[in-house]
Subunit: 355 residues, 2 copies
């Protein structure tokens, strides 16, 4: 696998066939780790960054998944390629935008992403389709154990794992679930979800993490607390609350269909019709319409398109993806035209890309 | 031909292939005539109305076109059927709504409509596709002559033909051209056309005549003056002004394509996409979107649909048409659903109905 292969495939997390995948797009666990013997990235000079990068890169290659890892030198990547990886959920926005020696190892079918010299020396992410936090955690935990057998991570007996930012100290873990909640948005019930999450110290973010708008009715629920709780306790909190949100969204959808099936059918069908026929379309409108279509498929209101295709289109119509697919630099207005053309192509034929 | 045949066919005037039919939908001439020996309709009692109806019906049957005439007793028609004929431009709204003995004779392919006991004893209409006023007039004039050979029309040497309403006295003629002017509407230049028409004492009306909104960007230009001018003079005025409006509309369209082809293409394609996918749609939105599509076809921006189909859909998606086609009485909300279903059916297959 090389970088360009990414433009013609899509990650496992988009296949739309995991548990509860009508509503849960994906589950993710990430761990923040730092090497005990080096200053943490915010205080590291070029030499330190380079030494850390070399050391961790070699360690990653020694892992069981090491031989299947696509390793990219993020520092020498074109800005467009970095943005592409952000859109693909394979690196963070910070990792794309910071400076200095840094890299990322990407595992098979994009289920694994290992960032070196992000905010911490190592940020490990396991990403899976559907509601599969337990599976993510098992994979992540075994990877962490494997690494820890040969690497000394900064660890304090009282606090736990030490990290650059105090908000990650302890487990260094962020567990998150990406939910598609168009029904709750449509009925404005989503506010109640926000309030409930806040009370439980869970964070709600958009598709692209902190500060990103909840475009396409995507909401990412994750733990805010990393200190004073075990990984299992954190996972338990999220694993308890997510099924209740899923249930809430399903109930609202059922009520919408029952109360005004024709109106919903109309909204969904028009969304599909516009996506198939527009000649210029913004990313925002695309996400909004795809969201309607996605819900429509799950409610049996749309024919001729499947969830994996819609999931993919959310990502493949993002600015960097479009430019990589079209193999040219495009200004905003040009992208809107290219996006519409890409949507027409994909929605005329139908199926998802190979993955 | 019987009444029900009308629901599965459409008139010659919708075939979209007459002169300048990219912009001119149809041309129409109507003459108002009254029998000299009877009181005019507003002052006629039931016996008079019946006598007039009998006499004129017999006269119409004697005409060259008589044997091909579908004659309908408008007084005994269901309200829905009368509304259907109004939508079809075969009778006036007044003729549908008034009371008492009255009828209409409809000629082959709906090019001819002969109303008995409308505001005048006889209202004759010739309707043709495209810009064909001269042809309409020749057909109308020969019909008028043919009738006048055996019937005495109320005529005054000073004023000309006498009519119930003074606005028709003289020639009794109304010549009109139905124009499709989406470009002038889009650019708001249409106001200038209104002003120019007013100065020339020409009337501008919507698709369904006096008082009707200009839905679908249709504008009907007709003479207001019937007195003190010959038929030829009236026709000359309209025949001079219409080519200038056509030219104006074409110029605006060319400029729109030149300045922002992508945006126009987008608007037109989305309109087509929505018409093909909506599950509930009002008549107003339908007309608006069909108008975009119609212009798009003429500018080569839409594939897979032809002008006669669009022309037909403007009429066949009207309330009474929908109910006749669906063979059931439908409330407004039901009609919106039926309209959307009808549009999807027609636009999936494509072609126009037989005519």
């Amino acid at each position: 696998m090389d970088f360009e292969t990414l433009t013609t495939t899509s990650g496992e997390w988009l296949r739309g066939s995991g548990p509860d995948s009508d509503i849960v797009i994906s589950s993710r666990i990430r761990l923040a780790r730092n090497l005990a013997e080096f200053p943490f990235p915010p205080r590291a000079d070029d030499d330190v960054r380079s030494a850390v990068e070399r050391l961790l890169r070699d360690e990653l290659k020694r892992l069981a998944v090491g031989r299947n890892l696509l390793y990219l030198d993020v520092n020498t990547l074109e800005p467009l390629d970095r943005q592409f990886l952000v859109e693909r959920q394979l690196i963070s926005r910070e990792h794309a935008e910071t400076h200095g020696t840094r890299g990322v190892g990407i595992g098979p079918r994009e289920t694994l992403s290992l960032m070196i010299n992000e905010e911490d020396h190592l940020r490990m992410q396991v990403l899976r389709s559907g509601f599969a936090l337990k599976q993510c955690w098992e994979e992540m935990n075994s990877l962490d154990d494997e690494l820890e057998a040969s690497v000394a991570f900064a660890f304090d007996d009282e606090f736990g794992y030490l990290t650059s930012c105090p908000t990650n100290v302890g487990t260094g873990m962020r567990a998150s679930v990406m939910l598609h909640l168009p029904g709750l948005v449509l009925t404005k019930e989503i506010q109640k979800v926000f309030q409930a999450m806040q009370k439980m110290s869970l964070a709600v973010r958009g598709l692209y993490g902190e500060g990103s708008q909840a475009m396409g009715d995507f909401y990412q629920i994750s733990n805010q607390v990393t200190l004073g709780k075990t990984e299992e306790q954190i996972l338990e909190t999220i694993s308890e609350v997510v099924p209740r949100i899923i249930e809430y969204e399903r109930r609202v959808r059922t009520a919408l269909v029952k109360e005004n099936r024709e109106k919903l059918h109309d909204q969904v069908s028009r969304a599909f019709g516009i996506l198939r026929s527009a000649h210029t379309i913004t990313s925002e409108e695309t996400m909004h319409l795809l969201s309607s279509v996605r819900m429509g498929i799950n409610l049996g209101l749309v024919d001729g398109i499947e969830i994996p295709t819609v999931n993919e289109l959310f990502i493949h119509t993002q600015p960097a993806h479009l430019q990589k697919i079209r193999k040219s630099t495009l200004e905003s207005a040009e992208r809107n035209v290219a996006r519409a053309a890409y949507l027409r192509e994909r929605l005329a034929g139908g199926g998802p890309l190979e993955n």
